[in-house]
């Protein structure tokens, strides 16, 4: 019964908080600063035509650089915790599932490439493309066509870090333009596509790794 009253207490506190938060939010007028205008005004210099990509890779590209570091770090933390237990043997799934997997994965790769390319002018980009690729890897693993990871070897470690390293190198190289990540407008489009391509591969590996490194735990 004590547990029950605790739940009631927490729920009532949380709803009171939501109530006051909601009331305070309704009091707000228009904001002092509206960033939509400057985002649109500088779109031509940003190298892309989609405002979200412009914010992510250009205006606030530094945030994205650090976010990629956070993702790499998440994988690193998992590696540090799980150690080097051998991966469990893969179990082949039903042949129909395997056939479906073989059919779906090439399509997913095509979708990923499209998403990467589309990011410049419509919703899409490296995160989405990487997620689709990672999903393809997870699918292959689930039908028994791709083994889980025991520990990443040199090639894989290089692939995991390459996207971030490339981004970091471009950011540092652009210091010659006057500041960190200051793209020259003429080359911005190409550089952003270069960064996004690298990120797609590394993000796919990182996201897939979050699954493939831990899959052995579930089966052990």
């Amino acid at each position: 019964m004590k547990r029950y009253s605790l739940v009631v207490l927490v729920l009532s506190l949380a709803s009171a908080f939501v109530f006051f938060l909601g009331r305070a939010m309704l009091e707000l007028g228009p904001t002092a600063i509206d960033l939509r205008a400057p985002v649109a005004a500088h779109l031509a210099e940003s190298g892309v035509t989609h405002p979200v990509t412009a914010v992510l890779l250009n205006y606030r590209g530094y945030d994205t650089l650090l976010e990629i570091a956070v993702l790499l770090l998440a994988l690193l933390a998992i590696l540090a915790v799980v150690g080097e237990a051998p991966a469990s043997p893969t179990r082949a799934a039903h042949p129909v599932l395997q056939a479906l997997g073989r059919l779906a994965v090439p399509l997913m790769v095509v979708v990923a490439v499209y998403l990467l390319w589309a990011g410049a002018f419509r919703p899409g980009g490296a995160f989405q493309a990487g997620a689709v690729l990672a999903a393809a890897a997870v699918l292959l693993h689930l039908v028994g066509l791709l083994p889980g990871w025991s520990k990443p070897r040199l090639g894989l470690r290089f692939g995991l870090a390459a996207g971030f390293a490339l981004f970091l190198a471009v950011a540092a190289g652009l210091l010659t333009q006057g500041s960190l990540l200051q793209y020259p407008p003429a080359a911005a489009g190409v550089l952003i596509l270069l960064i996004e391509s690298g990120l797609t591969v590394s993000l796919a590996l990182i996201l897939a790794g979050l699954f493939l490194l831990l899959s052995r735990e579930a089966e052990a």
Binding site: F20, L21, R23, A24, M25, E27, L28, T31, A32, I33, D34, L35, P38, V39, H42, N58, Y59, R60, G61, Y62, D63, L66, E67, A69, V70, L72, L73, A74, L76, A77, L79, A80, V81, G83, E84, K151, L154, R157, F158, L160, A161, F164, A165, L168, A171, A172, L175, T176, Q177, G178, S179, L180, L181, Q182, Y183
Partner: protein, 478 residues
């Protein structure tokens, strides 16, 4: 055109990111030398930057060339420069220490170097950021790296401590992020310099809620009493170099952020909470010291001492408007950072040598490990606040400001805290001076471990003699 290329401010972030990535690619257990070389360069960069700030005031870097509020600005004033100096000054000896501490194939050291690199990069990025959302990203970087370091290669107990730490740090950053989102909703910007003139006394109620959320989240991350529950198991259970990094630097990062908000964009909102924070700080001093006095295990004792020492930092808030309070707080950050890093490092040597980690098992250590016990004693001196240590200077400054303001109660708390610290430090030293039991055997430890611990502890005492330079640096505020 070449000046921005060598801007020390940017390289303090890029360099640790680069050596962390390199260490990751090099593989398990590798990367000590790139780390040490990188940190040595970073020390030099931090000194360069401090000189630049000391001479010319605030230094800016406009990332992407856009400028706030569209882009992200980085800014370094005296406070940031001081924190950067401390970070590099603590990290370099600890890196040298960790190289000897983690033997080959030690599971706890497998990914130590990349994790440490990302941790230092996150800290440096946090200290130079002038953008509330970017600060959140750096908080995540620091928090995740710290959790990874605590969990690495440990048993079930250590992973449990790390998980608890993860939840605490995630709730903390989550509350901070919600606060940032509310502020963005109210003003349409997250740039500190743009917000500064916008947040006025008649700020909407939402901003008060945001301020409360941000400060509570950061209090949780700073382990202010009664939010300290996660700290002793996490700091006490981790390998010694990790405990040292966490106690000396990571908890200070979230405190720095509270200070930054207090002095910056939320200066009209936050002072309403000043006495609450000071009261919790006082409670932390008493509770932390009491638990340290009772602790059975050496590292648990030191971890509770961190809880107590963090309490002093929060005593300055009611007096922050007065001249000298900020200086006192930063001096305490330095004193505790250097002393606690030295003390955890010394504890690591004692644990390695005696093969156990209770206070009772330290009998005879003075005879066998004089350098390490000397280091422990010097660090203890700083924690107690004996002259001429920097701890003495910090406590002296707090008392001076408190008395000038008529807050004699704060002065009393500081004095009592010093006495309590003496009890738990002397408890360890007394045990160490006892005769060695005949049965005890000591494992030999690398000299480098003993001397890097000694260097940190000695620095914490010697800084007391050079406090004036630090004060002058803090004068260069925005």
């Amino acid at each position: 055109m070449l000046e921005p290329l060598f801007d020390p401010l940017v390289w303090l972030i890029l360099l640790p990111l680069a050596w962390a990535t390199l260490a990751f690619v090099l593989g398990p257990g590798r990367g000590a030398w790139p780390a040490i070389a990188g940190l040595a360069t970073q020390c030099w960069l931090a000194i360069e930057l401090a000189q630049k700030v000391g001479a010319g005031g605030v230094t800016n870097h406009v990332v992407g060339g856009w400028g706030a509020p569209l882009g992200i600005d980085l800014a370094v004033d005296g406070l940031s420069a001081a924190m950067l100096l401390l970070t590099q000054a603590v990290a370099l000896p600890l890196a040298i220490y960790a190289r000897s501490y983690f033997k080959l194939n030690d599971p706890a050291g497998t990914w130590f170097w990349p994790l440490m690199g990302f941790l230092i990069a996150g800290l440096n990025a946090l200290f130079v950021s002038a953008d509330l959302f970017n600060l959140y990203v750096t908080l995540e970087l620091v928090g995740l790296a710290a959790v990874g370091l605590v969990a690495a290669g440990g048993g079930a107990q250590q992973v449990a401590a790390a998980l608890r730490y993860l939840f605490a740090t995630l709730v903390g950053s989550g509350a901070y992020l919600l606060g940032v989102a509310l502020i963005y909703g109210a003003y349409g910007t997250v740039s500190i310099s743009t917000l500064l003139p916008l947040v006025t006394n008649d700020a909407p109620r939402l901003v008060w809620i945001a301020g409360g959320l941000m400060v509570s989240g950061l209090m949780l991350k700073t382990a202010l009493f009664p939010f300290h529950f996660w700290l002793p198991p996490a700091h006490g259970g981790a390998p010694a170099p990790v405990s040292a990094l966490l106690s000396a630097l990571v908890v200070k990062a979230s405190f720095y952020l509270i200070l930054r908000l207090w002095l910056g964009p939320l200066q009209t909102v936050l002072p309403a909470f000043a006495w609450l924070l000071a009261m919790l700080g006082a409670a932390a001093i008493f509770w932390g010291s009491w638990q340290a006095i009772r602790a059975v295990k050496l590292k648990r004792l030191i971890a509770y001492s961190t809880v107590a020492q963090l309490g002093y930092l929060f005593l300055i808030f009611p007096m922050l408007a007065a001249h000298g309070a900020l200086e006192a707080g930063v001096m305490q950050i330095f004193a505790h950072g250097l002393a606690k890093a030295g003390m955890f490092a010394a504890a690591g040597v004692l644990i390695k040598a005696t093969g156990q980690d209770t206070v009772a098992g330290l009998a005879g250590s003075v005879e066998r490990l004089p350098v390490t016990m000397f280091a422990f004693g010097l660090a203890g001196m700083t924690l107690m606040g004996l002259p001429p240590s920097s701890g003495f200077l910090a406590k002296w400054l707090i008392i001076e400001v408190a008395l000038a303001q008529g807050h004699w109660i704060i002065a009393m708390v500081v004095l009592a805290g010093g006495l309590l610290a003496a009890v738990y430090v002397l408890r360890v030293l007394r045990q160490a001076f006892l005769l060695t039991p005949a049965s005890a055997t000591l494992t030999p430890v690398p000299r480098m471990l003993e001397w890097s611990a000694f260097a940190l502890a000695a620095a914490s005492v010697l800084l007391g003699l050079r406090g004036v330079e630090l004060m002058r640096l803090l004068g260069a505020m925005a």
